[in-house]
C-alpha cells in the first residue's frame, strides 16, 4: 500500500515492531545494525534450537520485511554515510537513549536541514522530556508504570505482566501509526516533522478503563482478581476452566446479553443443568441492583457445563448456538484456528539459507485491492551492504574494503 517510501530503521528491540509494520505496508525498510549485528540476534529461541546470530527467532519475528545494512554511526565516516542515506529517505526510526542522536550530530534538527521532508520518530522509555526522560525502561517497567500490571495476577499476589514484548509491540504500533499520520500531512503540505513516542505512555493509554476515568469518577483502584472480572458492584467470571484448558465468556444483561443468555439456557437445559435458572426472564435481566449471590447462582451451572467439554467442543457449540465463548488458545490451537485458516492467514516465508519455508503470522487485514503482511525474511548481517553502498551510493570496491577495515560497515 505504501510502496515507494523508504524508512531507515536504527531501533533496538523497543522499536523493531514499527519498521516491521511499515514493511508489511510495503515501505522499503532498511534496518541499520552495528557492524557484527544487533545484540538481539543472540536472543533465543533459535531455529531448531541452534544458537546462532543468523538463527534467532526473536530477530526473525520482529525484523521480517526489512533489508539490512551494517553501519557504525559512532564514527565520523559512518555519520556522513548515514546523512547521505537520509537525503533519500522518508522516515527515520530510532530508539536510543534520549539525546544520543543529537550528540552524534544526527538529531532531527541536523537531519531535517538535509531533508526537510523527513519524518523522524523516536521511541524512548519515558519520552523526550520530563523528569524521567533519562531513566531506563524495558517491557516490564513500562507495563508496570502504565498500570496494567496492577490488574493482572492473583488477588494479593505478584503483579503479572502481559505477554512478553507487549509494550515494545504497542510502542512500535503507535510509532507506525504516528508516522502514517505525519506522512499523510506531508502528502499535501510537503513538510516533515518529529515524533516523540513514549513506551510507558503507550502502556498507560492501553490502561484506558482505569486511567483516568475509573479513578476520577469511581475513586477506586481495581486491583487484581485472577480469572474474575471486577465490575465495581459485582464480580463475574471471565476465564472458565474446561476439560482440556480454559475458555472465556462474560455475563451481560440488558439487550446486549438477552439473546445469548437464552441460547445458553437452552444448552444448559439440554444437559440437565438449567435448574432454577429456568425462572429468569432474560429480557428483563440486568445488572442494576443485582447481588453477588444471584450472579453466583447463574454462573454455577455454567461452570459445570463448560467443565464437561473440551475447548474444541465448546468452540463448535458457540458457533452453532451464537454464543460469545472463545477458547483460550495455546499456540497449537491458534495455528489450527478455523477462522485464521479460512482467512488464509499463515504465510510461508522462504529462508533460502536454511532451505526452509517457515509459517509466519500473516496479513494485518484483508483488502480487495491491496496486500499487507510479511514480504520476506529478516535480513542477514550486512546482507544489503553491497546493494546500498555500491549500488546506490556508488562506493567502489576500495572504499568498501577501507570502510570495512575501519569498522564503519
Amino acid at each position: 500500500m505504501l510502496s515507494g517510501l523508504r524508512a531507515l530503521d536504527l531501533t533496538t528491540e523497543f522499536g523493531y515492531f514499527c519498521g516491521k509494520l511499515l514493511g508489511h505496508f510495503g515501505v522499503d525498510v532498511i534496518k541499520i545494525e552495528r557492524p557484527g549485528g544487533d545484540p538481539s540476534r543472540n536472543f533465543g529461541p533459535f531455529y531448531h534450537d541452534i544458537p546462532d546470530s543468523e538463527k534467532s527467532l526473536y530477530w526473525f519475528a520482529f525484523n521480517d520485511s526489512k533489508r539490512g545494512i551494517t553501519l557504525n554511526i559512532e564514527t565520523r565516516e559512518g555519520q556522513d554515510i548515514f546523512k547521505k542515506l537520509v537525503t533519500n529517505a522518508d522516515f527515520v526510526i530510532e530508539s536510543f537513549p534520549v539525546g544520543y542522536m543529537d550528540k552524534l550530530g544526527l538529531g532531527y534538527q541536523e537531519l531535517s536541514a538535509i531533508n526537510p521532508k523527513l519524518i523522524m520518530a523516536s521511541i524512548s522509555p519515558f519520552g523526550q522530556t520530563g523528569p524521567y526522560k533519562d531513566y531506563k525502561a524495558t517491557d516490564l517497567i513500562a507495563m508496570a508504570m502504565g498500570g496494567i500490571m496492577s490488574l493482572t495476577g492473583e488477588p494479593g499476589g505478584v503483579p503479572c505482566r502481559l505477554s512478553p514484548n507487549h509494550a515494545y509491540c504497542l510502542a512500535g504500533t503507535n510509532a507506525a501509526l504516528a508516522i502514517m499520520i505525519a506522512y499523510y500531512y506531508r502528502t499535501w503540505s510537503g513538510e516533515g516533522q518529529y515524533i516523540d513516542v513514549s513506551l510507558s505512555e503507550c502502556a498507560t493509554r492501553e490502561n484506558y478503563n482505569e486511567v483516568p476515568t475509573s479513578w476520577e469518577f469511581r475513586r477506586y483502584n481495581a486491583g487484581r482478581h485472577g480469572d474474575i472480572m471486577f465490575r465495581y458492584n459485582v464480580n463475574t467470571r471471565t476465564i472458565w476452566p474446561c476439560k482440556d484448558g480454559h475458555v472465556t465468556w462474560t455475563l451481560f444483561g440488558g439487550t446486549i446479553g438477552a439473546s445469548e443468555n437464552k441460547q445458553l439456557s437452552k444448552w444448559l437445559e439440554e444437559e440437565d443443568l438449567l435448574g432454577d435458572l429456568k425462572d429468569i426472564d432474560w429480557d428483563q435481566f440486568g445488572f442494576d441492583g443485582i447481588t453477588q449471590g444471584k450472579i453466583d447462582r447463574i454462573e454455577k451451572p455454567i461452570f459445570e457445563l463448560l467443565q464437561r467439554h473440551t475447548k474444541k467442543e465448546i468452540e463448535d457449540e458457540s458457533i452453532k448456538r451464537g454464543l460469545r465463548i472463545s477458547a483460550v488458545n495455546d499456540l497449537r490451537d491458534l495455528y489450527e484456528n478455523k477462522q485464521l485458516q479460512f482467512r488464509k492467514y499463515w504465510k510461508a516465508v522462504e529462508h533460502p539459507e536454511l532451505s526452509d519455508m517457515v509459517p509466519y503470522a500473516g496479513q494485518l487485514f484483508i483488502s480487495n485491492e491491496t496486500k499487507t503482511g510479511p514480504r520476506h525474511r529478516a535480513p542477514l548481517i550486512g546482507e544489503h551492504n553491497q546493494e546500498i553502498y555500491e549500488g546506490e551510493l556508488g562506493f567502489d570496491r576500495n572504499t568498501m574494503a577501507d570502510l570495512k577495515e575501519k569498522g564503519v560497515i
Binding site: 499523510y184 476515568t213 496479513q363
Partner: protein, 406 residues
C-alpha cells in the same frame, strides 16, 4: 489562522459501537478529519449507555466512557431503516472519503449498505470495516468482545504465571486498544492509495489478525520448533532479577529488570554489595536463572524495606531499569512524568463538566492532535441536514416530525 492538521478536508462517515469502531474514528477526528457519527436515540450506541456517568445518573450525554472514544466527532441521529434515512445515508456516502463501521458482521449488507451498494454511489469509496474476528469466516458469528480476541489470538494464554490460570486485566480489553490502531493505519494507507491511484477499497480489519503478531517469537517457536512456550509471568528468559517485588505499604510493588552484567553490578551496589550477591550462585545470568527463586527471595527481603518510589530512584540512579507497579491513583494523582508531559488533558463537556482525558502516546511536533470532547447526541442534526445535505429548514423539520431524524 486555524491550525493545520493532517486530515483536514478528509471526510469520514462512521456507524459504530462500543470501543473498536469509535476509537478508530477518533484518530481521524483528532487529527483534523470531519467525522460524522451516525446514531439513534431509539437504539443508542453502547458507549452512550456505559458507566461511569456524571453523578452516577444514566443519560445519553452523561457517559464519560462515550467521550473517551468519540472525541471531536459530529453526532447525527437518523433512522436508517426508514427509506428517507437510507437515502440520507447514501448522500453522506457520496460526501465521504471513508465509511467506517463495526456493527454486527453482515448487518450492513443485510441493510443494502454493503460495499457494492456504496460503490454505486461513490466509485472510489473506502469502506473500513472493523470487527473482532473480521467480516468473513466461520467464527464471525461468535464475534464478542475484546476478551474473545484476547483468547483466540493466544494472548490470554500468556497473561499468567506458570502455576496459575490466565488472568484478566480487569475490564480493560487490550484488543480494543490495538485493533483501532491497525484500523486507522489501514484507513490512512487507503487514503494515500486513493490519492495515488484514484482507487478506493474494501478493508476488513479484525482484532484477531494483528494481535497474533504481538506474540512475535513465541509464534515462530511453535511453527519452527513445534514448541508451545510456557507462560513466564513477570520473569524473562534473558534477565534476572526480572519481576515485581514487594515493597513497604499495602499492595505496593516495584519492578526491576536486570539484563546486562553492568546492570547487575549497579544492582548489587545499590544493595550495598551484600555477601549473597558475591556467591557463584548469582555471579552470572545463567546462574541467576538457575537459582531464581532464591534470588527473588533475597530481592524481596531488600525491597520490602522501601517504597516503590525509593527503589525506582535508587536503581535508576545506578543505571538499573526499575519502576513502580502503579495503580490508577498513582498515575492520575502522583506520577511526575505524567504531569510534566501533560499526558492527562483537562477537558470540559457541557453536561459532564470537567474531566480528564488521556492523550495519544505520541506527540507530533508540527501537527499535534486537537482533542475536543465528544458530541451531545444529535447535536449536529441541523448543521448536517442544512449545510452538508443542503436541505431547507422546513425539510429538516419535516424529517424530525416524521421521526426519520430521531
Amino acid at each position: 489562522m486555524e491550525k493545520k492538521l493532517p486530515f483536514q478536508g478528509v471526510k469520514v462517515l462512521e456507524w459504530t459501537q462500543a470501543i473498536n469502531g469509535p476509537w478508530t474514528g477518533a484518530y481521524f477526528a483528532d487529527f483534523g478529519a470531519e467525522v460524522i457519527k451516525i446514531e439513534s436515540t431509539k437504539f443508542p450506541e453502547m458507549g452512550r449507555v456505559s458507566s461511569p456517568y456524571k453523578d452516577n445518573i444514566p443519560g445519553f450525554n452523561r457517559s464519560i466512557t462515550f467521550n473517551t472514544f468519540n472525541t471531536g466527532k459530529e453526532s447525527f441521529t437518523v433512522n436508517l431503516r426508514d427509506p428517507r434515512g437510507y437515502e440520507i445515508f447514501m448522500k453522506l456516502v457520496a460526501w465521504a472519503d471513508i465509511v467506517l463501521q463495526n456493527q454486527r458482521p453482515g448487518l450492513m449488507k443485510a441493510m443494502s449498505l454493503g460495499y457494492e451498494e456504496l460503490k454505486k454511489v461513490k466509485e472510489d469509496i473506502i469502506l473500513l470495516e472493523v470487527g473482532i474476528m473480521g467480516q468473513e469466516g466461520p467464527m464471525v458469528g461468535v464475534g464478542g468482545w475484546g476478551s474473545n480476541s484476547m483468547a483466540q489470538s493466544g494472548q490470554f494464554y500468556y497473561y499468567r504465571f506458570p502455576d496459575n490460570g490466565p488472568s484478566s486485566p480487569g475490564f480493560t480489553a487490550v484488543p480494543d486498544v490495538i485493533g483501532p490502531m491497525f484500523a486507522a493505519m489501514a484507513g490512512i494507507a487507503a487514503l494515500d492509495y486513493k490519492r495515488r491511484t484514484g482507487k478506493g477499497q474494501h478493508l476488513d480489519v479484525s482484532q484477531l489478525e494483528p494481535l497474533v503478531h504481538f506474540l512475535g517469537p513465541v509464534v515462530l517457536d511453535f511453527t519452527v520448533n513445534g514448541r508451545i512456550q510456557p507462560p513466564v509471568g513477570s520473569r524473562d528468559p534473558h534477565a534476572a532479577p526480572h519481576n515485581a517485588f514487594r515493597c513497604k505499604g499495602d499492595d505496593k510493588w516495584c519492578v526491576i529488570a536486570v539484563f546486562t552484567d553492568e546492570e547487575w553490578q549497579g544492582f548489587c551496589k545499590v544493595l550495598g554489595n551484600p555477601e549473597w550477591t558475591k556467591s557463584p550462585r548469582f555471579a552470572t545470568l545463567s546462574a541467576r536463572k538457575e537459582n531464581e527463586n532464591e534470588l527473588e527471595e533475597q530481592v524481596n527481603k531488600w525491597t520490602s524495606q522501601y517504597t516503590p518510589q525509593e527503589v525506582m530512584m535508587m536503581m535508576q540512579e545506578a543505571g538499573v531499569p526499575a519502576g513502580i507497579v502503579q495503580n490508577a491513583q498513582d498515575i492520575v494523582d502522583f506520577d511526575p512524568q505524567v504531569k510534566a508531559r501533560e499526558l492527562l488533558l483537562k477537558m470540559h463537556h457541557p453536561v459532564v463538566g470537567d474531566y480528564l482525558h488521556t492523550r495519544w502516546p505520541f506527540i507530533l511536533s508540527k501537527t499535534p492532535a486537537m482533542i475536543r470532547t465528544g458530541p451531545l447526541i444529535g447535536a449536529h442534526n441541523h448543521y448536517i441536514c442544512t449545510e452538508i445535505l443542503g436541505m431547507s429548514d422546513e425539510e429538516f423539520i419535516e424529517l424530525v416530525n416524521a421521526e426519520v431524524i430521531i
